[in-house]
């Protein structure tokens, strides 16, 4: 049984990677373009549609993970959080230093970034429960402190 499963492991993992990368390539590229359009027009609908596409990309990733029986890998989590942080910093910098950044842009960014964070939190809560999510983070901190 174990031997039969071995040769399938590599192609399945590659196909999982392909599905994830394809999904993100599509959703992220169109999402980011719409967000940029939303900020430059300025148009809240375009901007929020862009953030909605990013959330759709996240949901698609979860669905693909479920189909392939896999979870988020540490590099994926790092990349996701990193991209979110960079995006949020760019947004904050624009709010602070770009005089052409108007109210609609501020509102679009606030709603969009909150939505993204909310989707992430919702996923963790649904997947691990409120207590489980808290413990997961707490244990990780504790482990890091111990180290």
């Amino acid at each position: 049984m174990v031997e039969a499963a071995k040769p399938r492991a590599a192609p399945a993992s590659r196909e999982h990677r392909l599905a994830v990368m394809t999904g993100w390539a599509l959703f992220a590229s169109f999402g980011v373009c719409l967000i940029l359009s939303g900020f430059s027009e300025p148009s809240m609908i375009a901007g929020l549609a862009g953030f909605a596409l990013l959330i759709a990309g996240f949901v698609a990733h979860i669905v693909v993970n479920a189909i392939f029986g896999a979870g988020f890998t540490p590099p994926q989590i790092a990349l996701g959080l990193g991209a979110y942080t960079v995006g949020a910093l760019c947004y904050i910098a624009s709010v602070l230093f770009d005089p052409s950044f108007g109210e609609i842009d501020v509102a679009t960014g606030l709603i969009g970034f909150s939505g993204l964070a909310g989707a992430f939190v919702l996923y963790i809560v649904v997947n691990y429960g409120v207590r489980g999510s808290y413990r997961m983070v707490y244990r990780q901190h504790a482990a890091e402190r111990g180290r």
């Binding site: 590599a10 192609p11 590659r14 196909e15 392909l18 599905a19 990368m21 394809t22 390539a25 599509l26 590229s29 169109f30 980011v32 373009c33 940029l36 359009s37 430059s40 027009e41």
Partner: protein, 648 residues
Amino acid sequence: MIDARLAWLTVFFALYASYCVYWGLDCARARRGAMEFFLADRGLPAWAFAASATAASFTGWVAIGLPATIFRDGFQASALALSAIVIPLGGVLVLSRQWMLSRRFGFVTPVEMYADYIGGPLIRPIVLGIAVLFALPFLGLQMATTGYLLQILSGGYVSWVFAMWALGALVFLYVGLGGLRAAAYVGVLQALLFVAALVAVGAIAWVELGGFGRFVDLLAKLGASKLGPWGASGGGYNALFAMPGVVQFVAGFGKAAPVGGVWTTTMVFSSALSLMGLQLAPAFVVVAFSARDARGFAPQQVWLSAAAVGCGLVFFAVVAGLGAQFLGASAAVNQAGLAVSHDLPVLAGGRETGLAAFYLQSLGQRAPWFLGLLALACVAATQATAALYISATGTMFARDFYRRYLRPEASDGDQKLFGRIGVGMTMLLALLGATFAPHAQAAFGALALPAAVQLLPLALAVCWFAWITPNAAISGLIAGLVAVLFTDRLGISLAAFFDIDIPWGRWPWTIHSAGWGLAVNTAVVLLFSALTQKRSNRAHRMRFHDFLAQAAPRASDSRAWRPLASAAAMGWLFFAIGPGALFGVDLFGAPNAGAAAWLFGIPSIWAWQILAWVLGVLLLWLVAYRLGLSRPPPHPIEREAEAIRRRR
């Protein structure tokens, strides 16, 4: 501004190139044998096959070319959108069965399959020749189109030759490294981008026109006029809103052009048949052989091709094509004061083929990032075809030429090496042809689809009809190819070169060369089959047919459904793309009667085409799922060990 556009083009193309090279390297790293390189070890997952095969089936022509044709010729040309049904219909008939035969007997290429079935020395070079037509001139044309697209979008900063060679090098790199698997894996993203490009071009037109209601009002005004290149049709309507009859007995292009437009119902029908060649082409069959199982066939044919791409074509391509009339692209409409903006330049004298690029250019003023992304999407749509086809041609070069004629004892490594050489040579020759002999390439490229569809009777013989004898099939194929040649540009030019005056031009009687070829082909097949039944080696052929009879999926009540499906198919072909399409011109309201008189609020001919599309999807569902023609076989396929051993 041009800098911003160039910058975003560079960003998106750099990301795309990284993605392609990543998958090329990833697939190459597996370091497996020739079968991995040629056929992805027959392990392409159903969903990856479905997506990449859809992109390869439609090519960039659909996203880039169809809106331009609709802009020029109006709703008479938009009937071609129904090729979204016709293209997979060819696949439904034969693809699943060909896949089963490849599993059973170990065929790596369709050339091997046809040669085994037919026997004799002729079939192999003929099918290889058709494959080469697809690989070289047809691909060269596609690559040149992407080059021109980038030249327009970069404002002339990047020459089309440079763009074409750079994109060709990228395709060679990832296909040469990773083989068919890399081509198919990248094809998944390319398929999604292709649909996105199709929708986006229509959506840009939609927005620039100011919404659907305004578009319909403008169509009503145009319908009441006689504006357009073809003036009035025979029925007195604007020819952009009508079809110029069932057939016109004119000598053909170059001798006497038809009146009221090109797209008679016979021309639409025969052109749609020609597009069927995309799924019958040897290279596409190689892609089908690489599928891990047959689960991907029906979804690819029914949901992705017919439903999703069909929706894009009947709605978005039409809005993009006809919408351009009111966005400054038509000088006559501009003069009549019907244009709502001048976002597009006046497009005439062949310049209209760049319509998609001009749409993106108009977007580039406001959102250069979208220009970069959508330009990439258009290019990716074309590259999907290029990648899969050069990979399959490399496979055929290694298997059917090198191994067959030069070194029958070639090792696994040798075959893989020559597969790579085949990929490189194919791309190199296609690009050289596009650069230095574009006219010759266009003449040869025009033959690719009509030549490929001549394989239909042969494929039907292999998959369905044992009564078609090998002699009949091969004679029909040769006769069909000759008919194609001499009813298209190349044959007529050749005849003129030898001072032979052929009394007809290109596509005489408004019948596409594919139609002429298929008519001659079928007639010869029927006649020769009747004459050569006794001499045919039926026992050998029955090896294929007995296996298919026992292994092919069949709905339990297929006997009851079969007559219904046949009648439905005939009815659909007649009313959707055949003579019956003429009913649609004014059945739901006269084109010149205004929007209030149109039953569905849109021009009658458009409503007819949308209805035909919906019924076409149902038809495909019926034959693919209900009759089981594209369903996976119910039991695992037992391999014929001896046949497979011989083919290694």
